[in-house]
């Protein structure tokens, strides 16, 4: 393997400045759990390894004064997402996804920023971030800009980020919903890459009608999706088993619209409906309490 030089900045400015000069020839190292596998596969070599794990500014988690926005630093590990009360309270589906994210060993290293920037369709943090209408704050030499999460990926493993960009933080619309969930299907229970994942949060009015709903489908489409059609179907209605079944059919239809009828659809069409029902049935019960 050709030589690689490791740079270990202590501040955000140093990192941004380095990327400005060497971005296209640099691997950004946060938790490293995806990067190590990629490097070992020998797919592409770059001259620099920029280790951003020492930059404290990337590790903060804060809620805005009016408690409407939750800021999660890109360098926050999945273990911290799993243990911080602020995240559990204001982004509960994201908190839930951290229980089944890879393994304990990986959660102790992997970061939310890496999970998103890697642009893998099966990033488990993505559907929970989408339902919170998250945006990434990206730092560059000319200042920072904001990219909505839904625009972060151009396709599978194709990030919209430039080589000079560094994701600093994610801004989520904080919410303490009455109902939330994250579900996924993998080949086995622990340590499985998601074949399919989904996140939901909802609130109801006094009559048990859905007054607010956000729903996102992950892993089985090339880029993250917020399913507006599913949200509209439920909003303003008291969910029933019939409505749930109708929603499952609609979701499968929307998924096929995006992916086309590929060979895996024989599995995915019933699976996406099954997972949806597993997730939404408790919401039906909750609305009728």
């Amino acid at each position: 393997m050709a030589a690689m030089t490791c740079i270990r900045p202590e501040t955000l400015d140093e990192a941004v400045d380095f990327l400005h000069h060497h971005g296209p020839d640099t691997h950004i190292l946060a938790g490293g759990t995806d990067l190590m596998v990629e490097l070992r596969s020998g797919k592409h070599h770059r001259s620099y390894l920029l280790d951003i794990s020492r930059i404290d500014a990337l590790k903060t988690v804060q809620i805005s004064d009016d408690r409407s926005r939750l800021h999660i630093g890109s360098g926050v590990t999945l273990t911290r997402i799993n243990t911080l009360p602020l995240i559990r309270d204001h982004a509960p589906a994201l908190h839930k996804c951290s229980f089944t994210f890879a393994s304990r060993q990986i959660r102790n290293m992997a970061t939310i920023g890496g999970n998103v920037a890697h642009a893998s369709p099966c990033g488990d943090t993505i559907p929970p971030l989408v339902i919170h209408e998250a945006a990434a704050v990206v730092a560059g030499i000319d200042g920072s800009r904001t990219i909505p999460l839904l625009e972060m990926n151009k396709g599978a493993y194709q990030s919209a980020l430039h080589p000079e960009d560094l994701v600093v933080t994610f801004i989520l619309q904080a919410r303490q919903p009455g109902f939330f969930d994250f579900q996924k299907i993998g080949r086995r229970k622990a340590l499985a890459t998601s074949r399919m994942s989904m996140a939901v949060m909802a609130d109801k009015d006094d009559q048990g009608r859905i007054s607010f709903m956000r729903f996102s489908l992950g892993a089985c489409t090339p880029t993250p999706q917020r399913m507006h059609a599913v949200e509209s179907l439920f909003t303003g209605r008291i969910p029933s088993v019939e409505l749930m079944n109708q929603g499952a059919g609609l979701l499968a239809e929307k998924m096929v619209e995006i992916t086309g009828r590929r060979p895996s659809i024989t599995y995915k069409e019933p699976a996406v409906q099954g997972l949806f029902k597993r997730m939404i049935y408790p919401m039906v019960t909750w609305c009728r309490q």
Partner: protein
């Protein structure tokens, strides 16, 4: 460009260690190849089997996925650090008593996952035990003996062990 090595300094099983390593070297390569400590095993090499589990600042991590440069400044423990003065660690004792070892390849990783669990939570319930060792694959035992042995070790640690507590102060850097 010349091969640029980088100095990392960390505590390995209580001993100060300094090593010049290559940026792309994994913690596993540093521990096994550079330092000659062969207790930590390489299984899958992609973070799926847990055979390479070590404890870094009290947290279980896959040494195969961890960059060696991230060891810098950390308190690292491998399976070699468990026994003290020729006496097995209580977790090792319980693995022996409970027949939790067959071929033994997964054992160092499972011991370290258990050790990290006990540091974080000295009295875990069954679900927490399953969660903590679900990142370690064993192809021989069928897991039951491992699970019972971990539970027996937890019962011991629930009574309080000074050494466990000392091992788990501080956060991962």
């Amino acid at each position: 460009m010349t091969q640029t090595k980088i100095a990392v300094a960390f505590t390995l099983n209580g001993k100060k260690t300094v090593k010049d390593i290559l940026p792309e070297q994994s913690a596993l390569q540093v521990i096994r190849d550079e330092l000659g400590m062969k207790g930590t095993k390489e299984g899958c090499g992609i973070g799926e089997c847990g055979a390479c589990t070590i404890s870094v600042n009290g947290q279980a991590v896959n040494a195969c996925l961890m960059f060696g440069v991230h060891l810098d400044g950390c308190r690292v423990m491998t399976v070699e650090g468990l026994a003290e003065e020729g006496r097995l660690h209580p977790v090792q004792e319980k693995f022996l008593e409970g027949h939790a070892v067959q071929c033994g390849f997964c054992t160092p990783g499972l011991l370290m996952s258990t050790h990290a669990l006990l540091g974080e939570n000295p009295a875990p319930d069954d679900d927490q035990i399953v969660q903590a060792i679900s990142g370690n694959i064993c192809r021989c035992t069928g897991y039951q003996q491992i699970f019972s042995s971990v539970r027996a070790a937890c019962a011991l640690s629930g009574q309080g062990s000074e050494r466990e507590n000392q091992d788990h102060k501080g956060e991962r850097c």
